[in-house]
């Protein structure tokens, strides 16, 4: 009787153990990408090869500045990823020559946007450098973008004298050089979360960005003349927040919705074109405009309120099923001393826009429908 009971227990344990082994094998094969071998591929400029110098004039100068065999961006990126490979705990980052039988996945850091705004405001000169990057995992077998993590960094500086190209190059160098630089410290903060999305992981893509007329008076000349350029910066900024704050699996923003391809020019001058897969869900951002109102005024100072007004729509793009469609607004105060003749409004509205994006993410998370049907499915 005892032997029978023991045998029964043994069989039961064996059944549970075998089920657990099976479950482990299944999850390991289709899992979240832990220990997925990814080879380091280098730094690349995104976009048409013929337009690299036009799109990234300062970055190209910086890249060639150090008359070394290896480009500035390439060397900085390689050194960072080599030293910090272990920080990317959810992937197995390898260096060396990737063999097709090892893995088709390659990690690349791509520069997708360079904006340099130089303005004279009264007696001082202002400089804004905005850089958009994408940390990408590229699938060379399917020639597809497998993972995309937008990174957005900005530097604002002011001086009594105007900023020359050399000054801008030197400021940009500071943003990128070394592991403590703005770029690499941002990447390092996110390294632990960086992972390969599962096969059934849903994705989100910023599909369309429109800039309303009421936003134009607050923008620098360069953006006023080309709202598409500003739209690209908005998409980059919001994409970085959606990935960073909400932890969502994002796909790169394609400037031209019909051309869902991403061209990358690597340091060795090789040019590769990847398909951006169709997203599960899409986001349209409508920047309706910026507004300022005088809240309080005294003889010594005035208090202005600057507001950013957005319309945000989240939907399934193929069958046009809408999940979220709401206006979002956010205001920031600005105290202007009576002695100040001119006010640079762009950094203030940019702060309001950033606040509006964070507010939008909060609203999306609070909305039960959006949370369960979209965000939870896109969560990495």
């Amino acid at each position: 009787m005892v032997i029978r009971t023991k045998r029964k227990i043994f069989l039961r344990v064996w059944q549970i153990a075998s089920s657990a082994i099976l479950l482990f094998i299944c999850t390991a094969s289709w899992g979240s990408g832990i220990d997925t071998k990814v080879f380091y591929g280098g730094f690349a400029f995104a976009g048409k090869a013929s337009e690299v110098e036009k799109n990234y004039p300062i970055a190209v100068k910086l890249n060639a500045a150090d008359a070394q065999a290896e480009s500035f961006f390439g060397a900085q990126a390689r050194d960072f990823f080599k030293v910090n490979a272990n920080s990317f705990s959810k992937i197995d980052l390898q260096f060396g020559l990737a063999r097709p039988e090892d893995t088709p996945l390659v990690l690349a850091l791509a520069l997708t946007d360079e904006k340099v705004l130089r303005e004279q405001l009264g007696s001082f000169h202002k400089l804004v450098i905005q850089l958009g990057f994408e940390l990408l995992v590229l699938d060379f077998r399917a020639m597809e973008v497998a993972v995309s993590r937008p990174i957005y960094i900005e530097l604002i500086d002011a001086s009594r004298v105007s900023f020359s190209d050399e000054d801008v190059v030197s400021r940009m160098r500071k943003m990128i050089e070394g592991k403590d630089s703005q770029l690499f410290s941002t990447i390092l903060k996110k390294a632990g979360d960086f992972q390969i999305r599962g096969r059934n992981q849903s994705t989100l893509q910023i599909r369309a960005v429109s800039v309303g007329e009421k936003a134009l008076p607050f923008l620098p000349d360069a953006y006023r003349q080309s709202t598409n350029t500003y739209a690209q910066a908005i998409a980059q900024q919001f994409g970085a927040l959606l990935a960073g704050e909400a932890g969502l699996a994002m796909l790169p923003y394609a400037k031209d919705a019909l051309n869902s391809k991403m061209s990358l020019r690597f340091a060795d001058a090789s040019m590769v074109q990847f398909k951006i897969p169709s997203p599960t869900f899409a986001v349209d951002v409508d920047l309706k405009g910026y507004k300022k109102i005088l809240d309080k005024s005294t003889a010594a100072e005035s208090l202005w309120l600057y507001g950013a007004f957005l319309g945000l729509r989240i939907y399934e793009p193929e069958f046009n099923v809408e999940f979220f469609n709401a206006p979002v607004k956010f205001g920031v105060p600005k105290v202007v001393p009576a002695s100040q003749q001119t006010v640079d409004e762009f950094p203030i509205v940019s702060e309001a826009l950033q606040g509006a994006f964070l507010e939008a993410i909060q609203q999306m998370q609070k909305d039960k429908n959006t949370k369960t049907k979209v965000l939870n499915k896109c969560k990495l």
Binding site: L22, I25, A49, R199, N200, S202, M271, T280, E318, K373
Partner: protein
Amino acid sequence: MQTMIRSILILTVLVSSTLCSIECSAEIVKGKGKGEIVYKGVFKQGSVEERAAITEAKKNALSRYAASFDSARFELYQKIEGEVVADIDRYVMDYTVVNQSTDTTSRRYTVIIEASINATLIEAAIQKSSGAAASAVAGTGKPSGESDYITFVFVARELASRKAFDAKRTAVEINESSNTGAEKTQISDDGQSANRSLEKSSITKKTTGGNTETKADELAYRVNTVTEVDNAVNSVLTKARYETVDPTDAGLDIQSFKKDFSSGDDISVETRKAATKTLKEKEVRYLAIANMDVGLPDKDAESGMMRVYVTVTAKVTDLKPKFPKAIASIAGKPYAGLGPDAQVAKKNALNDAAMRSAAELVDQLRMKNVN
């Protein structure tokens, strides 16, 4: 104990099949589909109605995926659609629900899914249903007779010289002249005298004309066969389970093909007659001929690399009927290849053109149940 042995066996089978599935790495494509169903009573999650709507969504995802095929492939897919739909869970490996909604007024349940479609399995089903595979599967291991053999001559050619002729002008000039005259007599009022006058005129007519004869440029091509192209075509045909025969083994005179394509766009009557006779004797039923015109290299604006276009004109002839019959053709389809230099770009363009044109010919042959 038996239970344990059984579970060990199941475990072994499942482990090996899981590992195999990882190794085999089938091509999985993502596609969305929508399913809608009218339910009776109260809708419940997990009900038969929900499952039926999901099946509809899977079918819709497959249809949308198949809609991206070219016409020949789509027609082939239509032949196997019933079989695919009947066993849909094999072809749609898994799915995630993108959205589901229930309209209680119209008692309608709608579901949108994102499906993982096993494209490799669909390709295998298309192959299986096509004549070549069907006969192979029928047990012979090769087509039902030697007449099912196919041989191909794919030549690549580049412009070697262009002889341009000046326009030949023939001028014609006709000169005609004629004299006319009129005599007038005027009699005075008293009738005693008369005046006679003579008016003369001369007309000269000149007609000019002629013709200009222009002669088409005389083009001379450098023609060659490329091993990579032959291998690529062979690979496509073999994968589609056609029995390929090397043209030299089939007894074809490749040099005569090259000579014909060096100055014209088709093979000469003599070459065709000789090839037909030889292949009929050797019981090779199909002859595929393609000329691949290699264009001049230029720079691709998108990638900055060198780009070469290859334009393919191809024809497959069935030699079995009394009079040979063209059963598949491609008319001047361009394919582009990129590379760091013109040579690599040309090689890439030729390989891509060979693979894709061979695949298109295979689809056309399968559509006609050619085995």
